[in-house]
């Protein structure tokens, strides 16, 4: 009973400026890179989600009579096809909008798989050390000795190309950076006294790993995740370009670049438009990751 009495006398700090949520909102506003990068990424995600509402045409319908129509700002362009049509007469803007779905889904899904695998391995190796660490280091070394593109090509060649296969292959191959960074950081953290305090309080290993160690890895994880999402998107484009990723007629930015390469001297926008979209997305993700890291790292700014 005596425990509860003094709490009434403690003033609630709501009115003052120390409220955590208000603090973060103000700090988000102070991060131009997060605002710009995050804004572009969120915009692309929204476009991907609402693609059926936004696309002016069906991305799969061919119109042989209106092939390689240039975008509206060139001679011969029309508002009917704002970004023109491709070599089969499909509306290019619609294909670009639907293609955002593929690129974003593959980027996020593959990195989600890779992040879970790499973080788990790294946490176990870094925290336990010894034999466990030897196994984790060995697995990482084996993974690093495999060239991703080569392995991905082989697997896609065996199982056939599809969005699912590309996600699984990239997810199973791109965990190495997560594992290396998480392992090193977890090894440092697990020697600190707040881990000893949690052990002395009787906390389980699972509790310590998930509640005490993992939150301190957030800045590193965010930076790696953004790098890896960007690289997975590029890798999907590369695989699709090589004809081993997403199969036609599914609209994917990498596939659009690939299909456009034969026409690039005559209708260069066919390759420039999806290329620009890809570059913009990767740039925005990296920018947002930088801003996010500055925002949440405890020893960064105020």
């Amino acid at each position: 009973m005596t425990d509860t009495t003094p709490t009434a006398s403690i003033p609630t700090p709501g009115a003052s400026m120390k409220s955590p949520s208000r603090l973060s909102l103000r700090r988000i506003a102070e991060q131009p890179s997060l605002l710009v990068g995050g804004g572009i990424v969120v915009l692309m995600i929204l476009i991907a989600i609402f693609a059926p509402l936004l696309a002016p045409h069906d991305p799969f319908v061919q119109n042989i009579a209106a092939r390689t129509v240039p975008p509206v700002w060139y001679d011969g362009g029309s508002w009917e096809h704002i970004l023109g049509t491709d070599q089969l007469g499909r509306d290019y803007l619609s294909r670009l909008i639907y293609g955002a779905r593929i690129s974003l889904f593959i980027g996020f899904a593959a990195v989600a798989i890779a992040g879970v695998i790499g973080t788990t391995l790294g946490l176990l190796g870094g925290y336990f050390g010894g034999r466990v660490d030897m196994v984790v280091t060995f697995l990482t070394t084996v993974r690093l000795s495999l060239p991703i593109i080569l392995v991905a090509l082989a697997i896609v060649a065996i199982f056939g190309g599809s969005v699912t296969i590309v996600v699984i292959v990239l997810g199973l191959l791109k965990w190495d950076r997560f594992a290396v960074v998480v392992r090193a950081t977890a090894a440092q953290i697990s020697r600190l006294d707040y881990i000893n305090s949690a052990k002395a309080a009787g906390a389980s290993t699972f509790y310590i790993l998930t509640r005490e160690v993992l939150p301190n890895l957030a800045p590193q994880l965010i930076v790696i995740a953004t790098i890896e999402i960007a690289s997975a998107i590029l890798m999907e484009a590369a695989l699709s370009f090589l004809g081993l990723g997403v199969q036609p007629p599914t609209p994917s930015w990498g596939l659009m670049i690939s299909e456009a390469k034969n026409y690039m001297f005559f209708s260069f926008w066919l390759i420039a438009i999806p290329g620009t979209a890809l570059a913009l997305l990767v740039f925005a993700i990296n920018l947002a990751g930088d801003g996010l890291r500055d925002l949440i790292s405890p020893d960064g700014r105020g």
């Binding site: 425990d3 709490t7 707040y194 052990k199 002395a200 906390a203 939150p215 405890p298």
Partner: protein, 326 residues
């Protein structure tokens, strides 16, 4: 001495295998080498010694964080290896040296202090927070600190948070591993006084590890002096400071700096620096540095300090027993 001590160690050993580089055999480091200690309920046992004497290894073992190579730690006469981790944790809690690494930087102070209660699922969320706020108030943290993060606090305030966390489960024993040595001198005495008040209020038993003799003199009832993993002298605090028997204890006492301006830096008769703990000297491990070493010291190890009562592990006291020495 007939009562069962609340915490005791029986012939406690801890060895580490130390790598000396590639393709070289591993060396053995005896960090704790046959330590017998006991603390009665409500007492404070001070453990002193220079860096590397095994104090912190001993603290880890008393907390059950490090298993013994041989020997055992007992709580109320029961080996802690037989106790469930969770039950032991409710009764023995730590305060660590460095308040900058002992608080998780991503948690609010309230989360840090309620952590042990959440691990043990004691009470509802509201009860846990109420208890944590009461303790934070008791250790002298300003109201409204609950939602702050450790980086916003000074060293002394952080150590108060660590104390609140250690006491939130109402343990019986608190192992203080150099709790003041990372703090400013003025803050040290505040924290020491707080620890003594809390001891009286909560009926705590302390094991207080320090390299600072004046701190130990202030707070301890009994003192054990460690050298290279062994207890070389053990006595009530007054006896240690008034009539030290072991030459090492005497050297430690002489090394205390005073504020007297003309006293200068104390001149020690300890000879060369710290010995190599991988190759301890034969006979008495202290003899290469001992100003009063004589012939048997280099060959015959002195009789260890008895498990009960007081004494010094030294050939000098064996030949000329004085005072209450056994």
């Amino acid at each position: 001495m007939s009562m069962t001590p609340i915490l005791e160690t029986r012939n406690l050993h801890r060895r580490f295998r130390v790598s000396q580089g590639h393709f070289k055999p591993k060396a053995t480091l005896q960090a704790v080498n046959g330590v017998d200690l006991s603390v009665q309920r409500g007492e404070t046992l001070g453990i002193v010694g220079e860096s590397g004497c095994g104090k912190s290894t001993l603290a880890q073992m008393l907390l059950g964080l490090l298993p013994a190579t041989s020997g055992e730690v007992r709580l109320d006469g029961r080996p802690i290896a037989d106790l469930r981790r969770v039950d032991f944790a409710r009764r023995v809690q730590p305060i660590f040296q460095d308040p900058f690494s002992s608080l998780n930087p991503r948690k609010t102070l309230l989360d840090i202090v309620t952590m042990p209660l959440r691990v043990h699922a004691i009470g509802s969320r509201a009860e846990q927070e109420a208890r944590a706020r009461t303790l934070m108030d008791r250790v002298g943290l300003p109201a409204g600190f609950a939602d702050r993060y450790p980086k916003e606090l000074s060293g002394g305030q952080r150590q108060r948070v660590a104390i609140a966390r250690a006491l939130v489960m109402q343990p019986d024993v608190v192992i203080c591993d150099e709790p003041t040595s990372a703090l400013d001198a003025s803050v040290q005495s505040q924290i020491l006084n707080l620890l003594m008040e809390l001891k009286a209020d909560f009926g705590l038993t302390y094991v207080f590890i320090s390299h600072n003799l004046s701190v130990v003199e202030h707070i301890a009832d009994h003192v054990a002096v460690m050298y290279l993993g062994r207890v070389v002298e053990k006595a009530p605090v007054d006896a240690i400071f008034d009539a030290p028997q072991h030459p090492y204890t005497r050297a430690l006492l002489d090394s205390v700096l005073t504020v007297a301006p003309d006293a200068g830096v104390p001149e020690l008769a300890l000879g060369p620096g710290f010995p190599n703990p991988l190759r301890p000297a034969p006979g008495c491990p202290f003899h290469p540095r001992c100003p009063r070493a004589f012939e048997p010291c280099s060959t015959i190890p002195p009789t260890p300090v008895p498990a009960e009562g007081r004494g010094a592990a030294c050939h000098l006291t064996e030949m000329t027993p004085r005072g209450a020495a056994a």
